[in-house]
């Protein structure tokens, strides 16, 4: 599904848009129910993104070609 490709921010924006449409109630019932289904999917995705998120921390190093190289970040307290 295309919504999987949305960033969190885009998904949240789309959700907001969907809810405002549903609240206006200006769409035919079929479309409303389709939107509702899309919204439910987005909600599930957003929650899953947060639940599954694991913070990634890397140290950037300038590689031999100047391009950034990612190194693991060790706690050096």
């Amino acid at each position: 599904m295309s919504e999987q490709k949305l960033s969190f921010e885009q998904a949240l924006e789309r959700l907001d848009e969907i809810v405002r449409h549903l609240e206006k109630g200006d769409l035919p019932l079929n479309n409303s129910l389709e939107l509702f289904e899309e919204g439910t999917g987005l909600l599930k995705n957003c929650s899953a993104m947060l639940d599954d998120a694991e913070q990634k921390v890397v140290k950037l190093k300038k590689g031999p070609d100047r391009k950034p190289e990612e190194l693991p970040f060790d706690e050096e307290l």
């Binding site: 960033s7 609240e23 409303s32 129910l33 957003c46 947060l50 921390v57 950037l60 391009k67 970040f73």
Partner: protein, 406 residues
């Protein structure tokens, strides 16, 4: 040779442009005592700076005055920074002051105020140049020391609030003479390879000397030139550096920078559940309204009892049939009457009926009815027909009504 006659405006203009030619006057630093210090309702500050022998008119506009970190009062010894120029309306020159420091401040503080005044006049702190921060940064570049509490605080808070954001550390020295070029290099590098969509640069607290790299003009200019938004996060709450002024956003501490940089997942989860509730309610409301409409339709008789309509039609049919039948009867009765009338008049005209009243019909032997006596001859045979029979006769004599006799 006659001297040219100048207007007052021309002369003042002449002096003004002469003064502007002196580059030293555009960036001066002068020590003196404040007197006649006044703050106008416009927010501009007007005062005189004097020593034992001389005085200098000064003005500090609201924007610069709002950055003052102490309350100036008449009698105070200060160092003032700014440019000297002519105020043409009054024909006086004055110091357009960008910054003031109270007496007794150290050299670093004076250098700080000088740089701040200079960069302010160049527009490096202008609000209009500040870029908005991304609401949900996907990657954040942290430019700071990889040792020390600051970086760990930031990583911890970023992870707790918004673990979706990837953190890229660009380790730099944050104090000592190497620090400014390293910080500048990292800011430029982050921009060149667009490694993130937001930069946080800063360090934990320390003395004014420790924080000095973030008061470096090169660092300030690199932050200003950065296309990626920059949050400056230096020291503790009361420490303010040049980087703080020039950055798109000032954080009071590195931890505060992490709070500014990313949303709080608790708030976002609440937002999600409120959107979910609103969506549910909207759809339920819609369905309830439709159900209510349906119910109203169901209450109507045509739908609840479909045979009702047919029964009605059936009754209609009966009425029509009845009306048809009675019409038929009426027509038949009429016809019958007419028939009876016709039949009786036919009867009245029947020849037999005439004969029964005593008449007879005469006919010749061939059966032709004789209607006139003149058609008869004596000796001729006649056939007489009565109502109940007939007779064969012979004419003996014919006599006509007008006397003729044959």
């Amino acid at each position: 040779m006659e001297r040219p006659v100048l207007s007052v405006s021309q002369l003042n203009e002449r002096v003004r442009s002469q003064l502007e030619l002196d580059p030293q006057l555009s960036d001066v630093c002068v020590r003196g005592e404040l007197s006649n210090y006044k703050i106008y309702p416009s927010g501009h500050h007007y005062f005189t700076l004097k020593d034992s022998e001389s005085s200098l008119r000064c003005v500090m506009f609201r924007a610069q005055a709002s950055r003052l970190r102490f309350r100036p009062e008449s009698g105070m010894g200060v160092t003032a920074f700014g440019r000297v120029a002519v105020y043409p309306r009054d024909g006086v020159y004055q110091l357009y002051c960008n910054a003031l420091t109270p007496e007794g401040t150290g050299d670093l503080q004076i250098a700080f105020e000088q740089l701040k005044a200079k960069l302010a006049s160049e527009g490096l702190f202008d609000e209009s140049h500040k870029k908005p921060l991304p609401a949900f940064p996907e990657r954040i570049a942290i430019i700071t020391s990889s040792a020390g509490a600051a970086v760990h605080d930031m990583i911890r808070i970023l992870g707790r609030r918004w673990p979706l954001t990837k953190v890229l550390l660009l380790p730099v020295r944050v104090q000592g003479p190497e620090a400014p070029p390293e910080i500048v290099g990292a800011i430029r590098y982050a921009n060149e390879f667009h490694v993130a969509d937001l930069i946080i640069t800063g360090r934990g607290g320390g003395s004014i000397e420790d924080l000095w790299a973030f008061n470096d003009e090169r660092v300030a200019r690199a932050i200003y030139a950065s296309e990626l938004p920059v949050i400056s996060a230096v020291g503790h709450e009361p420490d303010v550096t040049i980087s703080d002024y020039v950055a798109d956003r000032r954080a009071s501490t590195p931890s505060n920078a992490a709070e500014i940089a990313v949303p709080d997942q608790e708030e976002i989860r609440e937002m999600l559940s409120s959107l979910s509730v609103r969506g549910d309610q909207a759809v339920r409301k819609r369905l309830d309204a439709l159900r209510e409409r349906l119910r109203r339709y169901q209450e109507k008789r045509v739908l609840s009892d479909p045979m009702a309509g047919i029964d009605d039609r059936r009754q209609d049919l009966d009425h029509i049939q009845q009306r048809l039948c009675s019409a038929e009867e009426r027509i038949l009765a009429g016809k019958k009457q007419a028939f009876i009338r016709l039949a009786s008049s036919l009867d009245a005209m029947s020849p037999l009926r005439v004969l029964s009243r005593g008449y007879a019909v005469a006919a010749d032997p061939s059966g032709d009815i004789i209607k006139s006596a003149s058609a008869l001859e004596a000796g001729q045979k006649l056939q007489l027909t009565f109502s109940d029979g007939g007779a064969s006769c012979r004419v003996e004599r014919v006599h006509l009504d007008h006397g003729g006799e044959t």
